[in-house]
């Protein structure tokens, strides 16, 4: 039996080993990915991002427990940073996920970012694909502690949670402008801490700036005119239910308070996630996101394949000669590219 078949049969050791090969981008790992690809596309990919220490791992722990109550199989991919100097890493997300051990319906995998800077590792998307094919219903992907630019998760996940916590100070607003754009749901964790109201208020006002059109349309109740084909009303975030928004056909990111250490607000958060999944499917956004994601994947694969092809056609020696001319400033990089592509290497 091939590795892919063993994984499809539910063998957990085979799954763990395949994840390693996919992460290392080995030949047999790639072959298994090809074999598994037809079985993908069913799972709900949920991204969890936010600054270090906001409680992402604890939240993932609680959410997984919640999803297990409804019988869903849950995979967790937890990414932590690699050292830029040694390539080593300490992956500590499991420390907060002890409650999940002993449950065969949960599979946790830690990943080092291995030099990627977007908040995920290069192989994270492929790892998620393996879990998808292996029949996990919900795949939670926890990014490295994120600042402003670690937004790759939004391209990978169907639903992105941005986790905040009170007391991060005034700079909270500056940071939020970037990362708020990718949030489908905003979580204010550690909601038992002082300052939760002002954090929530700051987030709300930033959100209003980020989604001005929706707000105006929604408040005038005119949105259905823009989407006459859509069934209405669609599910929408509960947290921002306001007068005049009942016919809204756009998703307004709700703000959900949680206390991950004792499970408060988790049930509501899990419901928001399910609702967002439902919204994506009804509105057609699910298909749009799938297409964008697979297109990006295809482009990346094509790029590296073309690069390899070109490398095969051009000898190291020829490449070095062109490179020398670039170094000597007698050939510009873009002219050098033209020459390499045309094969006129003299």
């Amino acid at each position: 039996m091939s590795l892919a078949e063993t994984v499809l049969n539910g063998d957990r050791l085979a799954l763990a080993r395949l994840l390693t090969r996919v992460e290392n981008n080995t030949l047999d790992g790639r072959a298994a990915l090809n074999a598994l690809f037809p079985y993908t596309g069913k799972a709900h990919l949920v991204g969890i991002t936010g600054a270090p220490g906001t409680g992402k791992s604890s939240l993932v722990n609680q959410l997984a427990l919640q999803f297990r109550k409804s019988g869903k199989r849950v995979a967790i991919v937890a990414v932590d940073p690699s050292s830029p100097f040694t390539g080593g890493a300490v992956l500590g997300d499991r420390v907060r996920m002890k409650d999940l051990s002993g449950d065969n319906g949960v599979f946790i995998r830690s990943m080092a970012s291995r030099g990627s800077i977007g908040g995920l590792a290069q192989a994270t998307a492929s790892i998620a694909q393996v879990f998808d094919a292996a029949g996990y219903d919900i795949i939670m992907i926890e990014t490295v502690g994120a600042g402003q630019s670690e937004v790759d998760i939004a391209k990978l996940a169907h639903t992105t949670l941005v986790v905040e916590a009170p007391g991060l100070g005034d700079d909270i607003q500056a940071i939020k402008a970037g990362i708020l754009e990718i949030a489908d749901i905003i979580v204010v964790n550690k909601a038992d801490r002082p300052g939760v109201e002002s954090t929530e208020k700051a987030l709300k006002s930033m959100l209003d700036l980020a989604h001005p059109t929706q707000k105006i349309f929604a408040h005038h109740g005119a949105l259905t005119l823009f989407h006459p084909s859509l069934p209405s009303p669609l599910p929408r975030g509960e947290g921002r239910k306001g007068e005049g928004e009942s016919e809204t056909n756009l998703w307004l990111p709700p703000i959900q308070r949680t206390i991950a250490t004792d499970g408060k607000g988790i049930e509501d958060l899990a419901r928001q996630i399910a609702k967002h999944g439902e919204y994506l499917r009804l509105s057609g956004d699910w298909a749009v996101r799938e297409r964008a994601r697979l297109e990006a994947e295809l482009e990346a694969a094509l790029q590296s394949a073309l690069m390899n092809q070109l490398r095969e056609r051009i000898s190291e020696d020829q490449f070095d000669k062109v490179m020398d001319q670039v170094l000597a400033r007698s050939l510009s990089p873009s002219k050098a590219v033209k020459r390499l592509m045309n094969g006129r290497l003299k």
């Binding site: 040694t86 890493a89 300490v90 992956l91 499991r94 420390v95």
Partner: protein
């Protein structure tokens, strides 16, 4: 870039709540380029074996200061074996009386380190054990 990273699970089975040693070792292994999955305090043998499986590690490092190593180590070895992870190397760090060391090695433990052991030696021994 394509060389396989060594993945190590650092775990603390049993009830003692002192994990400074485990953290020092985790940090040293990180600095030698390994990927260390740190699982924290008070792990049962079952939890450790499950994590070792999910993470597909090459090495399990156990920190045991409670004196329960003769009960915990064989249990963990058995569970790893039952899961099919016979090639995983298991190391122990902590307070282990000298007379217990031969018996642990007989069980298949790859190395035992007491107070004052150098992290360089641990790194070297792990790399050798995986050759």
């Amino acid at each position: 870039m394509l060389d396989k990273k060594i993945r190590v699970l650092v775990a603390k089975p049993g009830l003692d709540g002192h994990d400074r040693g485990a953290k020092v070792v985790a940090r040293a292994l990180r600095d030698s380029g390994m990927e260390v999955i740190y699982t924290g305090l008070r792990q049962t043998p079952e939890m450790i074996a499950e994590a070792a499986l999910q993470e597909d590690v090459d090495v399990v490092g156990l920190s045991i200061l409670s004196g329960a190593h003769m009960a915990l180590a064989p249990r963990i070895m058995d569970l790893l074996k039952a899961n099919g992870q016979t090639n995983v190397k298991v190391f122990i760090g902590g307070i282990v009386p000298d007379e217990d060391i031969p018996r642990l090695m007989e069980m298949g433990i790859a190395g035992v380190y007491g107070p004052g052991a150098s992290t360089e030696d641990i790194v070297k021994d792990i790399k050798n054990a995986l050759k």
